[in-house]
Amino acid sequence: MSQYEIKEHDVLVIGAGGAGLRAAIEASSLGVNVGLVCKSLLGKAHTVMAEGGVAAALANVDAQDGWQTHFRDTMNGGKMLNNWRMAQLHAQEAPERVKELERWGAVFDRTKDGKILQRAFGGHTWKRLCHVGDRTGLEMIRTLQDRGVHQGIEVYMECTITKLFKDGDRICGAFGYYREDGRYILFKAKAIVLATGGVGKSFTVTSNSWEYTGDGHALAYDTGADLIDMEFVQFHPTGMVWPPGVRGILVTEGVRGEGGILRNSLGERFMFKYLPEATKNDYAANEEEAIKWTNAAVAGEKTDARRPPELSTRDNVARAIYTEVKEGRGSPHGGVFLDISYQDSERVKKKLPSMYHQFKDLADVDITAGPMEVGPTMHYIMGGVRVEADTCMTRVPGLFAAGECSGGMHGANRLGGNSLSDLIVFGQRAGAGAASYVKNLTGHPEIDKGQIEEAIEEMEAPFKRSEGVNPYDVAKELNKVMSTYVGIFREEGDLKTGVAKLEELKEMAKKAKATGSKSYNPGWHLCRDLHNMMICSEAIARSALSRKESRGAHSRLDYPNTEAEWSTCNTAVERSEGGMKLEHTPLPEMPSELKELFKKKEPSHA
């Protein structure tokens, strides 16, 4: 039998991006012993790539803003499918969490009167995104990382968790391996917080890194939690499309927030055509009004002009770009043009420094001199582990989830900037929830030896296959299936084909073979990651097939309308004897005082 080392913590946090770090800091400050596991080195998690900003109704730039408006924008952006309580907590607590980051050393860009500067973003009524140029995520993760290391949290870097253990119903530990040498590690833990991020590696064109294989989603699913809203996958409207090597890399929404204009090959500012009737009045009616808004925003002045159509929600802009390209009005490399070059070049470099360098270094394009080519890229999953809003606990006692791997907060579509705020609001709540759970726990859950043996066997198996397939081939095939059959626009035939192909791929994934030693062996790691990618992909495809309407990021060609009857349920999947079980469960109903907020609809000016 293989050896493993044993570590013991009250709370084990899996994932060290914004949510995981914030959860670890919170739990540790409440006096419980915390371990923090990260798949990469500390400070490299996906949060580091977030660019545009963190949404919080501080009202530093637009004094009219407040949590109610942020709440309403979030629910409208999510097409009312959000868990209302999460959206409420998020809107109420984001300002305090952002100020807390500042007190911990984050250095946000400033307004002229010395407060945190806020910029416009898609779907937000007011200028709401606190930012540091276009590297807000780096600022956030570094601040949290430095806070965390001085708080006595034990960090396990380059360590991947493959299994969670329960004693009866309750969580009791986790098993994993170190990348460095493949040695195994067993964590005894009274509570576990999942903060593992998303699932992007299931798609060909994505802004996500190698880590994004849906680990938290799959660990929770395998442990008896349920996943909701998995059909809602966000394609960010603006990823790079050229050259091939950089395809999918994110182009921040901040470009549009700062006044970036989208045009097709005919030079047409096409977003005016794609504004949904329901929100049309929130946006400029013509180019003249849009220009007036941008000029005022650049000058830091008030205006009665409404915001440009490029600041529509992400689902809508992504569909618009996809449609323009499909109908033959795309750019030379299959995208559309995004232009900020009409502005003063020094300002562009100051406000969007990493975009400037990204295009100059990787694509030979000077964004201060000409337009960028952009197109949709898989960016985020709204769906995730179902949690209780106030504590972030899943239905498995002792198992918590926060950030992208949790579900409910963003409904059918996430607004830009609401992810970084989600991380700190619910990271804090999950940390507090887990600490409180541990303090009230009676008895001492124990890990069953047999389960540990199984976990080891599962990791050893890829080395024992003499016949087998290259795990990279399986991953490539999976990318193809998801991108072809479960992409931006969906329809029944495609989805059914996708589900069938996933069944075949599941069998293929079981044959994935590892060669060589256990020392830093990416092929071996991928063999295990495929298990998680398959679960998430199947959940996405089956959920998409089941929702017979279009809503937010879920666009059905065969059911193009948003239907009232679908507005009251979440799609939920769970593990069962016969495979993945899917049902539609009732959406928690919003209390009447919050419903009131949606009745009086004043026109918004920003």
């Binding site: 990469s40 080195l41 500390l42 400070g43 490299k44 998690a45 996906h46 580091v48 790539m49 100020k99 500042e102 007190r103 050393g105 250095v107 860009d109 400033r110 009167d113 010395g114 407060k115 540091v132 140029g133 590297r135 780096l138 600022e139 570094r142 430095d146 806070r147 290391v149 001085h150 960090v155 870097m157 460095e180 890194s209 190698w210 050229w242 050259p243 091939p244 090597g245 950089v246 890399i249 990493s354 990204q358 270094d361 990787l362 030979d364 290259n470 795990p471 990279y472 490539k476 590892a514 060669t515 060589g516 030693s517 020392s519 830093y520 062996n521 990416p522 092929g523 071996w524 991928l526």
Partner: protein, 255 residues
């Protein structure tokens, strides 16, 4: 820019661990705009799934994929294949200053240990959180650091003299500068810089500045001002006496 290419590049990639290793040769088809990290991934996917490399964002934001390409310390995700001549062999090896774990991956854990020793951000209880862009421009430059550790890799004190036992290296001078120059920070890290970080070891050759992918002016903007502060504090007894007599708040005076 060429739209398509059937060119093949020859890469020689270090394969091995800290005891022994060799350069293995691979032929990789080159696409327009391809970077060295793409070529490494191609090898991983098609020839050798065991090839170890660290990467995350592939957009020069996370600082994971540091390596030495034809001897030049750089981020592999930012190193374009078309900067090499078509017949040029491309040597890819791990950064030299840190122990090799496997192939292109090194053990950089020492850096995380150094970081723990730096006194964290310490604002006053009653700090006024109103401050202006001009107060933080220089701090924001330091906070752009993506911790790729290329500056640590090329620093002579660490690379050639292996003084990890005493010298903290440019990365952590930058971090300390970011804290010391924060308008609301109240802590004093000068004694630490002198006696534990050994800032005096740096002889300002600016190699760190040259390799920084974030264009941080490490030497001019971080290290030299810190050196000046250390000199003022420890080697200027008259100035120190005058400040003492006048009761000038040292921290406020230097901001």
């Amino acid at each position: 820019m060429p739209e398509a290419s059937t060119r093949t590049a020859t890469l020689k990639v270090y394969r091995g661990d800290r005891e022994k290793g060799e350069f293995k040769t691979y032929k990789v088809p080159v696409e327009a705009g391809m970077v060295v990290l793409d070529a490494i991934h191609y090898i991983q996917q098609n020839f050798d799934p065991e090839l170890a490399v660290r990467w995350n964002c592939k957009a020069a934001k996370c600082g994971s994929c540091s390596g030495e390409v034809n001897g030049m310390p750089s981020l592999m995700c930012k190193t374009r294949m078309d900067k090499f001549r078509p017949d040029e062999e491309i040597m890819v090896q791990p950064i030299k200053t840190f122990p090799i774990i496997k192939d292109l991956v090194t053990d950089v854990s020492w850096n995380y240990e150094v970081n723990k020793r730096i006194t964290p951000f310490t604002p006053a209880e009653d700090a006024n959180w109103t401050f202006y862009q001009e107060d933080i421009d220089r701090v924001q430059e330091f906070r752009k650091c993506i911790e790729c550790f290329l500056c640590q890799n090329v620093c002579h004190v660490l690379r050639d003299h292996d003084r990890k036992d005493t010298f903290m290296g440019p990365r952590f001078m930058v971090r300390t500068a970011g804290l010391e120059m924060h308008p609301l920070d109240e802590a004093d890290r000068l004694k630490f810089l002198k006696e534990e970080g050994h800032i005096g070891y740096c002889n300002i050759t600016k190699c760190c500045t040259e390799v920084c992918p974030e264009d941080i002016h490490i030497t001019d903007n971080a290290i030299i001002p810190l050196k000046e502060r250390v000199v003022d504090e420890f080697y200027d007894p008259i100035g120190k006496f005058i400040r003492g007599v006048l009761g000038v708040d040292k921290k406020k005076a230097k901001k």
